[in-house]
Amino acid sequence: MAKKKQFAGKKTKLAELPLTRVLEQKAGDEAAWEELQTSAATGSRQLFLSLERTGEEAAGTLAAAYLQVLQELTGLQADLEPDAASSPLPALLPRPAIPPARNLIQALRLARKGLQDLHRLLSE
């Protein structure tokens, strides 16, 4: 067997340390946030809410949640009205100091799915 394959699944004490887990989780959240930012900045979906510039002193958590809500609503609109004309996103989205909380992302995605189901039921 190749040497490298034999390393698979071999965990060190360091990997099991609570600090390492906290750091890995943090890195995961940051990566998800980066992905979201990139898609927000380059996407062409229509924004139907006005986006006011968030001042530097604004609370990071609120700004992160706001941006996440915009993302989900934009995505929902694109799903429900794929033929609607799109307008460009604001050139500069404010970057809050912290990523949105994981449970907020999950809650918004659930809400989006619920609205999609409701729309389908009403259209039938």
Partner: protein
């Protein structure tokens, strides 16, 4: 006020003494009054900088056994101007056994360091997590953890981080967010690609807490031990000298940032 740095890893052979001597020598060459505290009963920092065991009367053993003994009373100069050492001999092992019955035994070194007049104090710790190591953890402002590219080093690092958390009474987040430690990769050999990949992947969550400068495997560092000189004196053109110079620059940046000092790039010529 001194900036006290512990060079620490309970695993043996990770490059603690080599790092102590060469980082301290580089700081002294930069003009900083620097003290090395040899806390290893093997006394390799003492011998490694050219101080022979018969050339001093008192050592770290006395600091640990005589109450209220100041470190100033045992410090001896080295051949490098501005670089001093608080020497150790094998008697330090016995002294460490004796302090187990003393109250506040973890604070003996911190107490002895009060009033010493050095800009940097670099402590070379023994390869164990005993009372000498907890003393250095208790006294220090910053920890450098030399770590070889090996599985056992990572396991050792895990134990060490747990000990640091306990002795410094820090929570998980505090340990990471505060500027308390850096991992230093030592004896790094680029040719060991498969091992390097595995170990670096494991260390990924700690990348912000790892020095950007790894110390490459370099025979000149070994040879400098034989000559009892720093790498900057033995072979200033070696990769070992370059690596320790880079490490010193990175270390000084951390120190300047922590103390809100204006950034001052060290002068390479003063080391090499």
């Amino acid at each position: 006020m001194s900036f006290i740095v512990a060079i620490l890893n309970q695993k043996g052979g990770t490059g603690k003494t080599t790092t102590t001597i060469n980082l301290a020598a580089a700081l002294a060459f930069q003009g900083y009054r620097t003290l090395m505290v040899d806390l290893d009963p093997q006394g390799h920092t003492t011998i490694g900088i050219g101080v022979e065991p018969g050339s001093f009367r008192e050592s770290m053993a006395e600091v640990f056994t005589i109450p209220k003994k100041s470190l100033n009373e045992v410090v001896v100069p080295t051949y490098i101007p501005k670089l001093f050492v608080a020497p150790a001999t094998i008697h330090l092992a016995q002294a460490a056994e004796q302090v187990y019955s003393r109250v506040f035994r973890e604070a003996i070194l911190a107490q002895a360091l009060k009033g010493v007049d050095f800009e940097f104090v670099i402590i070379d710790c023994p390869p164990s997590l005993g009372v000498l190591t907890t003393n250095s953890l208790f006294a220090c402002d910053f920890i450098i953890i030399p770590c070889q590219i090996s599985r056992y080093s990572l396991d050792g690092l895990a134990d060490l981080l747990t000990t640091i958390e306990t002795v410094k009474s820090l929570g998980l987040e505090e340990l990471f967010q505060g500027d308390h430690f850096r991992v230093l990769l030592t004896m790094f050999d680029k040719r060991n690609r498969v091992t390097n990949e595995y170990i670096l992947e494991q260390l990924k969550p700690y990348r912000e807490k790892t020095f950007a400068t790894p110390i490459m495997k370099n025979e000149a560092l070994n040879q400098a031990q034989i000559t009892q000189k720093s790498i900057f004196d033995y072979d200033p053109k070696s990769s070992g000298a370059q690596d320790y110079y880079q490490l010193t620059a990175e270390f000084l940046e951390i120190w300047q940032k922590r103390n809100s000092l204006p950034e001052k790039r060290p002068n390479l010529q003063s080391c090499l």
